[in-house]
């Protein structure tokens, strides 16, 4: 009998499921957005690289949806395609449109630093199926982070239009970042049950410790720790951007809910 089939306490189960939805929805949403660059990235080499990243992200989402499925949440495709906006638990910044390359890189970098911290912390989780998957996923995410960090730094040191665009991107993204560090309604239980070892504020601090030095290196103004919560995606509060994304993503799926595609 695997851990998913064992009698997990209600508290444990609910918290674990919440966390997995956050991770699955984060990865699917950013994977979808990344794939929108297909064919229109700044050069052919980057098109190919970004496509690999989006495949990894959708692949990771699939893994988390499969874990949810093992926990009795239903078919992975249904979880990815049939849930309404209010059921989604991704951070709001990930549902925003791609804007320009500077926005995409800045968001990608901020998210990848966060995701990398989240994954490293999850090496300590007591939920073995997740812990095992995370080991593999971390190997891929390391490259995403390196890729985004390199781009971010280079856009910054290039000065001129690139740096101007990067500064604008930071200003636009910053207010959207607060719920990235939210662990949703199961925040306390996740720690108490040994599913996720650190608090929201520790997550946010670790993130700042990594991101701020790059701001200094590229001579970007540090806008302070993001703190004014505009709406919490982890609690299903989303922007109309997510609705538009879902309308697009589920167009064929919705055309016949029982058909096999």
């Amino acid at each position: 009998m695997n851990q998913a089939e064992q009698q997990l306490s209600n508290n444990y189960r609910t918290a674990l499921i919440d966390l997995l939805y956050q991770m699955a929805d984060d990865e699917l949403t950013i994977g979808h957005r990344s794939s929108e660059w297909l064919g229109i990235a700044p050069d052919l080499e980057e098109d190919i690289a970004f496509s690999s990243i989006s495949q990894d992200e959708v692949g990771h989402a699939t893994f988390y949806f499969e874990l949810l499925s093992e926990l009795g949440e239903g078919d992975p495709d249904k979880l990815a395609f049939a849930r309404t906006k209010e059921k989604r638990q991704n951070a709001r910044v990930l549902e925003r449109p791609n804007h320009d390359w500077a926005y995409t890189i800045a968001r990608g970098y901020f998210y990848d630093v966060f995701d990398h911290i989240r994954l490293q912390e999850l090496l300590q989780t007591n939920y073995t199926p997740l812990q095992k998957g995370v080991q593999k996923i971390l190997r891929e995410e390391r490259y995403h982070l390196l890729h985004m960090e390199t781009w971010f730094e280079r856009l910054g040191v290039a000065k001129g239009e690139a740096k101007g665009r990067l500064e604008n991107a930071v200003i636009t993204i910053w207010p959207d970042l607060t719920d990235l560090f939210s662990l949703g309604r199961s925040n306390e239980i996740l720690r108490k049950e040994g599913i996720f070892p650190i608090s929201e504020s520790a997550l946010s601090d670790k993130w700042t410790q990594q991101v701020k030095p790059l701001f200094d290196r590229t001579e970007l103004m540090w806008p302070g720790t993001p703190h004014v919560m505009t709406g919490n995606g982890r609690l299903g509060v989303h922007t109309s951007d997510l609705q538009q994304l879902l309308d697009m993503m589920t167009e064929v799926y919705r055309s016949d809910l029982i058909a096999t595609w």
Binding site: G39, I48, A80, F81, E153, R154, V157, A158, T260, W261
Partner: protein
């Protein structure tokens, strides 16, 4: 160029030797090689767009992943081929950037199929099934090309195209085994794409450029040979899906081992390819222009950043 030099070159071609980019070759040969690979490379890049439209709408996780990977491959083929073309064009001082911008000023053509609409999910499947299926036939024949770098890069491309065809076939099979609406959608896509596929291989009467490419063994099969091979392979496959083909002239003749078929509207399709006047030609060229011109600032920034970082080191 001396007659002796040319004779030695033609002897090498006749003996089936591969010509390398740094070998001596007649200008005529070089120009034909560049033209062929440039057009092929740009077609791969433009071939990403019809399916790109369906990536955000792919109806399940597996299809979404597969389609992203397929479109990535097409861009990757474009990248490989344009590098090969760039190498061949070195003596003329032409670089990849020029080869991409040629598209915006109508100096390079791309395959007729990528000018066409892909209005349903079934089109996304049919493109993999029929267009990639057709491309495999053309490209497999080019593995024998006398131009070595082209023949080598095609080995990888052919291997990937066969995955694409299997992906397309899998999408198409799901629809064929699906609901009445899905089958109807599939039939409409088959009907829509068939005439384009008949044009895809080019007219039976080949242009003088194409004939010279045959003499130089840059390519080794005629348009009609390739088309016959396609028809022979795909008619039974389409029929076995329970679909029909929009051509009442289609028939196999055992005595000639050839198929008869209704000729596509050569004039209409040629005009479309020459003038980029197909239903989606301009919209897709515009996407490439956005990628290339609207994001020149990114490429410029990377050059500057590279200089700054080098100076710091």
């Amino acid at each position: 160029m001396s007659d002796v030099q040319l004779q030695i070159f033609m002897d090498r071609i006749q003996q089936g030797q591969k010509i390398e980019s740094t070998d001596w070759m007649p200008d005529d040969y070089r120009k034909l090689v560049i033209k062929q690979i440039h057009m092929h490379g740009i077609s791969e890049v433009m071939g990403a767009y019809p399916e790109k439209e369906w990536v955000p709408k792919a109806p399940n996780l597996r299809r979404k992943l597969a389609l992203i990977a397929k479109v990535q491959d097409e861009i990757g083929h474009g990248q490989l081929l344009l590098r090969v073309a760039e190498d061949a064009a070195k003596p003329f001082g032409k670089v990849r950037d020029d080869m991409i911008t040629d598209l915006f000023v109508n100096k390079v053509k791309f395959h007729n199929v990528f000018h066409m609409e892909a209005p349903t999910w079934a089109d996304a499947g049919i493109i993999g099934f029929l267009v990639d299926g057709g491309a495999i036939i053309t490209q497999a024949s080019l593995l024998e090309s006398s131009y070595g770098p082209y023949a080598r890069v095609l080995q990888r491309i052919c291997a990937e195209e066969s995955f694409h065809m299997q992906h397309g076939e899998s999408v198409v099979l799901s629809l064929a085994e699906g609901t009445a609406e899905q089958r109807e959608m599939l039939q409409a896509a088959v009907t829509r794409w068939w005439p384009s596929m008949m044009f895809f291989f080019g007219p039976p009467e080949m242009s003088s450029g194409a004939q010279r490419m045959m003499e130089y063994k840059i390519r080794t099969r005629t348009n009609e040979e390739l088309r016959q091979k396609f028809i022979n392979r795909y008619v039974p496959r389409v029929l076995s899906l329970g679909m029909t083909l929009p051509d009442n002239q289609l028939a196999y003749h055992a005595e000639t081992k050839l198929w008869t078929y209704t000729e596509p509207d050569w004039e209409k399709f040629s005009y479309m390819v020459q003038h980029n006047s197909g239903p989606k030609s301009q919209a897709r060229i515009e996407l490439r222009r956005q990628a290339h011109e609207d994001q020149k600032w990114v490429r410029d920034a990377m050059i500057r950043a590279g200089q700054v970082i080098e100076a710091m080191a």
